[in-house]
């Protein structure tokens, strides 16, 4: 809205100084100038390496065998797609990402509903709830691996003992679940904050009118709150997916992707190939495949962010 008003007033402003009017070359460059440093920097640091990755992916190149480097075309990709480990790891990535995101969103929704009502000390409870999100992931993963999930001295088994599950070795028996616990613990607060922002942006008068009309709390929740929250939940899902596809710290600290590749996801597997196997060509090809998969997800994300939240630059 605001931009359309500005756009309408712009010609009037320009009329005073026609030599710098919008659309003129001088004006265009004076507008572009503040943007250029950030744009050029970002392009060089984030885009060029990726272009180089594509180039590497067409080569056979192992860092520990100097002189082995040569052009092989698409054969790295052929190997990636016939690699059964790669398929397993891709599946792990999907399970880990989708599982963590959905559980975190569900818990986050419950916590947000809880925090959306007034009670004594609400601010303190909110601060307690967001803290897991702030803990350095490496430190949090370490905490889960040791003091929380240790089979003998861990808090989780201590709590589960009365229920007859007190001796589970989570890290070796359920590595993917263990990693997921640590991730969900850290990401639930983010989902909660996002959905809470949604709840608090509900127009009060609509809720009030529904209450006056005699709608039950549950009816209000189902008919008004849930539709209003939909875009916030969707945004939580896409943002969570983008961040969690790339999870690395928890896997590195808790399981090292093991046992075997049972808890490896794509970033961890590529890391192993590149920095422990020194196989540049293969890991580059996998990197390209992951980037394509992420791009598909993020296209949805971008569309969502642009469409439902920043509709106001349609005129730009």
């Amino acid at each position: 809205m605001t931009t359309t008003i500005e756009a309408a007033t712009a010609p009037k402003r320009a009329a005073k100084r026609p030599e710098h009017g919008p659309g003129s070359k001088a004006d265009g460059w004076s507008r572009r100038f503040p943007l250029l440093p950030a744009l050029v920097f970002t392009f060089i640091v984030t885009q060029l390496p990726f272009v180089v990755t594509i180039y590497y992916s067409l080569e056979s190149w192992n860092l520990v065998r100097p002189g082995s480097r040569h052009f092989v075309g698409l054969s790295n990709y052929a190997q990636v797609f016939t690699d059964s480990q790669f398929r397993q790891v891709t599946l792990n990535t999907v399970v880990l990402t989708v599982g963590s995101v959905l559980i975190a969103v569900a818990l986050g929704l419950l916590l947000a509903l809880m925090l959306n009502r007034a009670f004594p000390g609400r601010g303190v409870v909110r601060t307690l709830l967001i803290t897991p999100f702030l803990i350095t992931p490496v430190a949090a993963a370490l905490l889960w691996k040791t003091t929380l999930l240790d089979p003998t001295y861990g808090l989780v088994n201590f709590v589960l003992k009365p229920f007859g599950a007190g001796h589970t070795d989570w890290i070796s028996s359920f590595p993917l679940t263990a990693v997921m616990m640590a991730i969900v613990w850290q990401w639930t607060p983010f989902m909660m904050l996002l959905i809470l922002a949604g709840l608090q942006s509900q127009p009060d008068d609509v809720l009030e009118a529904a209450g006056v009309d005699g709608a039950s709390n549950f009816a209000i929740f189902r008919e008004i709150t849930i539709p209003h929250l939909r875009r916030f939940i969707e945004l939580g899902i896409v943002l969570g997916t983008i961040y969690l596809i790339n999870v690395f710290d928890q896997i590195y600290m808790m399981t090292q992707g093991g046992p075997g590749i049972a808890s490896s996801n794509l970033p961890f597997y590529i890391y192993q190939r590149a920095f422990l196997g020194f196989d540049v060509g293969q890991s580059a090809a996998m990197g390209v495949v992951v980037a394509i998969l992420t791009t598909i997800v993020s296209t949805f994300a971008l569309r969502l962010i642009f469409r439902t939240f920043s509709g106001n630059e349609a005129s730009a």
Binding site: T2, T9, R31, P34, L35, P37, A38, F41, T42, V45, T46, P49, F50, Y56, L111, M114, A118, F119, G121, V124, L128, I130, T131, P132, F133, L134, I135, T136, P137, V138, A139, A140, L142, K145, T146, T147, D150, Y153, W185, L193, L194, I220, L239, I242, I245, N246, D249, Y252, P267, A274, F275, S283, A284, A291, T294, T295, L302, I305, F306, F309
Partner: protein
């Protein structure tokens, strides 16, 4: 709290309730309040446990059932610091602060050029910035490593500064843009009628309005840079290792001793927890690229 009698929604309860929804018994309120507190404490408990364990002797950390009361000690913190935590903390501090300053220097003008005085293809520019965040780092780390290795910048703190700047810049541009868009158009109009230059308009009209936004953006960048591990573990070693890298090395050399590693983890997490508590109202805005306020 003590008056948990089962009175139906009294006028006093209705008066203190800011919620527009009627018909809630005060008992219900008390129970929900207690449940909320319990849930909050359960979520927070692992953090509390980490801090408590950090003050234990190892013998107190390995007990079943776990000990809640013990004679506190600073021994573990002393050991962590003598094992080289200080240089790692300084490295993290340097990489975090310098990259955040660079991010702000680059992002503020850029955000201005995609909000108040927009360039021709604003939408494409914004799309470009955000899409770089969605490209997995792992897909670019090999060439980055090769180049950094070629110019002998492995294990150099400036390498991290450059990469962290690139990592946070898109978020900062989006966040700062959302703050710039909050500047009232009337103020800008008035400044332009007065014939103020762009520089003066920025300094005297825009910056005072967006300065809380700059602080929030900086805090978000600090949190991300401090917690970053993947780039640091691949591109640093003994010289430029940051706190997360130190943590890994520490448990590798010292073994998994609960109290000691909790002390190390507490030191690692503390600065960002404080920054996050300060910035908690802006966390969502940062992580959703300014989409949600």
């Amino acid at each position: 709290m003590s008056t948990s009698t089962t009175t139906p929604a009294g006028p006093s309860a209705a008066a203190t309730d800011s919620e527009p929804r009627p018909r809630k018994s005060s008992t219900g309120h008390v129970i929900l309040a207690i449940v909320s507190w319990v849930v909050g404490i359960v979520f927070f408990f692992p953090v509390l446990w980490m801090v408590l364990t950090a003050f234990k002797q190892e013998a107190d950390a390995y007990t079943s059932p776990p000990k809640l009361f013990f004679a506190p000690t600073l021994d573990q913190f002393k050991e962590v610091l003598s094992a080289g935590a200080a240089p790692a903390l300084l490295n993290s501090l340097f990489a975090t602060v310098v990259s955040t300053i660079l991010v702000l220097l680059l992002a503020i003008p850029a955000a201005f050029a995609v909000s108040l005085r927009p360039v021709a293809k604003t939408r494409d520019v914004l799309f470009f910035f955000i899409s770089t965040k969605m490209l997995p780092v792992v897909a670019a780390i090999v060439p980055i490593y090769v180049v950094v290795n070629e110019i002998h910048a492995v294990d150099n703190i400036w390498t991290l500064v450059v990469l962290y700047t690139a990592m946070n810049l898109p978020i900062a541009v989006w966040m700062m843009r959302s703050f710039f868009l909050e500047v009232p158009g009337a103020l800008l109009e008035a400044a332009s009628i007065d014939g103020a230059s762009i520089g003066r308009t920025m300094r005297e009209v825009v910056l005072p309005v967006v300065s809380p936004g700059i602080a929030a953006t900086a805090l978000i960048c600090v949190i991300f840079a401090w917690n970053e591990f993947f780039i640091a573990v691949n591109l640093t070693a003994a010289q430029a290792g940051t706190v997360p890298v130190f943590l890994v090395g520490f448990i590798t050399s010292e073994g998994l001793y609960f109290a000691k590693l909790c002390a190390a983890a507490t030191l690692a997490a503390l600065p960002v927890v404080i920054a996050g508590w300060v910035a908690q109202n802006k966390l969502v805005q940062g992580l959703s690229f300014g989409a949600v306020k």
